[in-house]
């Protein structure tokens, strides 16, 4: 009823084609120097923030908790991956570049370590009902920052240089698709429904047999994994890490992206992460006022549309196609709030 196999495969093919087309066009534009280095830099940054924001939406929008330490997980992913790529190397295997394999493995390792950290700090915080997570993750983010500043392997306060510039549009796009597909497929399953039920009403959820702690950890760990991935991409994008990169402000920035885009809307997170990354890059005056504007934005949105600009609405290429080709011929029997959204790419 919600989605059957046939329509799912149809939509998957449609979305794959769209993603492929987008990828090829952008790759061509980069190759043909239509997009210069400045623009590709911004594009990479956009993708890095999209990955972080979509993953944060899992804990924030779907699980309904308030984590304030997302930058901490990015930091773990960034340093883990950077340490691996700067110390190891893999020889090329025929057409397969050893560098690429190493970067892939390092990114996965960064994600896994971030996920482990997520489980370790999530367990005590998420077993309790209430807003303990905000406090614990806030402390966690700061602890990670101080830790990074004071241990040798991360370069201490001096920072860590010599990181290869591996993050390109290809990797950014690959991981974006991964996080979007994972989130979408997860939330539209029994596990995702369980996660959403925790947001809606914890007492009701456990009364119908939902293991609250388990699903909180699943959502939180999944989000931490992709935050770690985005951290690794970030490290290999700016090539020089210092402890100040992943401060409290960055966690808040990502929170603003999620809340603004829509709690529980993947497309919302993508759009708002894109806009909020591009605007400060392009308008330098905006950049200096960024945090003040973000805070005001957050207050305004919270007052007028607490669920974010998109709410939990999803853009769907399949729906668009259906609308264009069938027009009004079939009026939907279900009320307008019945959505079966599939992601369109950017």
């Amino acid at each position: 009823m919600r989605e059957n196999r046939k329509s799912f495969f149809g939509r998957t093919i449609l979305n794959t084609c769209l993603c492929l087309a987008f990828f090829l066009i952008v790759e061509y534009m980069i190759g043909a120097k239509i997009l210069n280095r400045y623009y590709t830099n911004i594009l990479n940054l956009v993708l890095i923030y999209v990955i972080a924001a979509v993953s944060l939406n899992l804990t924030c929008g779907y699980l309904g908790q308030l984590p304030l330490g997302h930058a901490g997980f990015m930091s773990i992913g960034a340093y883990t991956a950077a340490i691996i790529t700067t110390r190891f190397s893999i020889p090329d295997l025929g057409p397969i570049s050893g560098e690429a394999v190493l970067f892939l493995l390092a990114t996965i390792a960064g994600g896994i370590l971030a996920m482990v950290a997520g489980i370790v700090i999530g367990l005590p915080a998420l077993r309790l009902k209430g807003d303990y997570l905000a406090i614990i993750t806030l402390a966690f983010g700061e602890i990670i920052r101080v830790l990074v500043q004071n241990i040798k392997i991360t370069g201490g306060a001096m920072g860590m240089g010599g990181i290869g510039r591996y993050t390109g549009f290809g990797w950014g796009f690959f991981w974006t698709i991964m996080v979007v597909a994972f989130t979408f497929l997860l939330v539209n399953s029994r596990h995702g429904r369980a996660i959403k039920s925790v947001r809606e009403d914890e007492i009701a959820a456990e009364s119908v047999g939902i293991n609250l702690t388990y699903y909180k950890i699943v959502a939180f760990a999944g989000a931490a994994f992709f935050a770690g991935v985005s951290g690794s991409l970030f490290a290999h994008h700016i090539c020089y890490l210092e402890p100040g990169n992943f401060g409290y402000n960055m966690s808040i920035e990502m929170l603003v992206m999620v809340v603004l885009g829509g709690l529980g809307s993947i497309s919302g997170s993508i759009i708002s992460a894109t806009v909020l990354t591009i605007v400060p890059e392009v308008l330098q005056t905006f950049a200096s006022w960024k945090m003040i504007i973000y805070s005001l934005l957050l207050v305004v949105v919270m007052i007028f549309k607490p669920s974010g600009l998109m709410g939990d609405y999803e853009l769907s290429a399949a729906r668009l196609v259906r609308k264009v080709f069938r027009k009004k011929e079939e009026t939907p029997k279900l009320p307008e709030n019945y959505t079966e959204g599939e992601e369109t790419d950017e």
Binding site: M1, L185, S189, A204, S207, V208, I210, L334, Y338
Partner: protein
């Protein structure tokens, strides 16, 4: 589903409760011994004993603040008991989490409706079917065959359960947008979806008009007959309680002051003084 035509007579069991004769030899679906809980200095429930047969409808009544909802919260371990034993199907519930109690076969509704308001009616029921579905997170994310099989079966099951209350056409609505009576019914459907052997209803008729209440009475009997489960309900509406319950427990200040069939309770002077005498009805 098996609809029972004739119900056997009520006979007393050692806990002082009346039980259908056909249920006496079976393990009671619920057995409570010396249950008690304190909130700080307040003794909210004290020495609560009862047993419930497998297909019995029992009522839990008492004045406001008597501790009725607290008994439900104790049964689902939402609140941990200070004293006493609760056995579901003969198994002790001590130390179990509420979601484990649900898997043991206890489902409930809430006095203040607790639906997943921003989710559709169908999704609400499917969350009730969560543990009936068997596929892992990996199978979900990769959309393997087990995902599709389980989802389509549970879609059908959810619609079947909704059709019990004639709500299948509302499947796509947001739960929060349903009219009040439908929200109460949806909560019952969601509870039934967990495949319980004991259903706890906390004031199911609250806010309903007399005709809706009559319909609810019939539905409560239908649930018992078609699902063959036991039902324990809290209710202030005496017509409903006297109309559907096989046995009644009267609670006052956390203590049981009377137990028995509706006729006994109606004529019990202690009950009349403590409860019926004070109420307007």
């Amino acid at each position: 589903m098996n609809r029972k035509q004739e119900r056997s007579p009520l006979v007393p069991v050692p806990s002082g409760f009346l039980m259908r004769e056909e249920d006496v030899d079976k393990t009671p679906v619920l057995e409570i011994r010396h249950l008690g809980v304190d909130f700080g200095g307040l003794v909210a429930v004290e020495d609560f004993n009862m047993a419930l047969g497998r297909t019995e409808i029992a009522g839990l009544i008492g004045p406001n603040g008597a501790g009725k909802t607290t008994v439900f919260n104790l049964l689902t371990n939402e609140i941990e008991p200070t004293r006493g034993i609760i056995m579901i199907d003969g198994y002790d519930t001590r130390g179990r989490k509420p979601h484990e109690i649900c898997r043991m076969g206890v489902a409930r509704t809430f006095q203040n409706i607790r639906l997943f308001r921003n989710m559709t009616v169908l999704e609400n029921v499917k969350i009730g079917l969560h543990n009936e579905m068997k596929y892992s997170i990996g199978e979900a994310v990769l959309r393997l065959p087990r995902y599709w099989d389980n989802e389509s079966i549970s879609d059908m099951r959810a619609l079947e359960l909704l059709s019990f209350f004639n709500m299948q056409d509302m499947a796509g609505w947001k739960a929060g947008s349903l009219p009040y009576g439908a929200q109460r019914r949806l909560e019952i459907v969601r509870a039934l979806a967990t495949n319980p052997s004991l259903l706890l209803l906390d004031e199911p008729a609250a806010g309903m008009n007399p005709s809706e209440t009559v319909e609810l009475m019939n539905n409560i009997r239908r649930i018992r007959d078609e699902f063959s489960i036991a039902i324990l309900l809290i209710e202030h509406d005496m017509n409903l309680v006297m109309g559907v319950c096989d046995g009644i427990v009267v609670l006052n200040y956390g203590k049981i002051i009377a137990k028995g069939s509706p006729e006994d309770i109606m004529s019990d002077p202690v009950v009349i003084e403590a409860y019926l005498g004070k109420a307007d009805q």
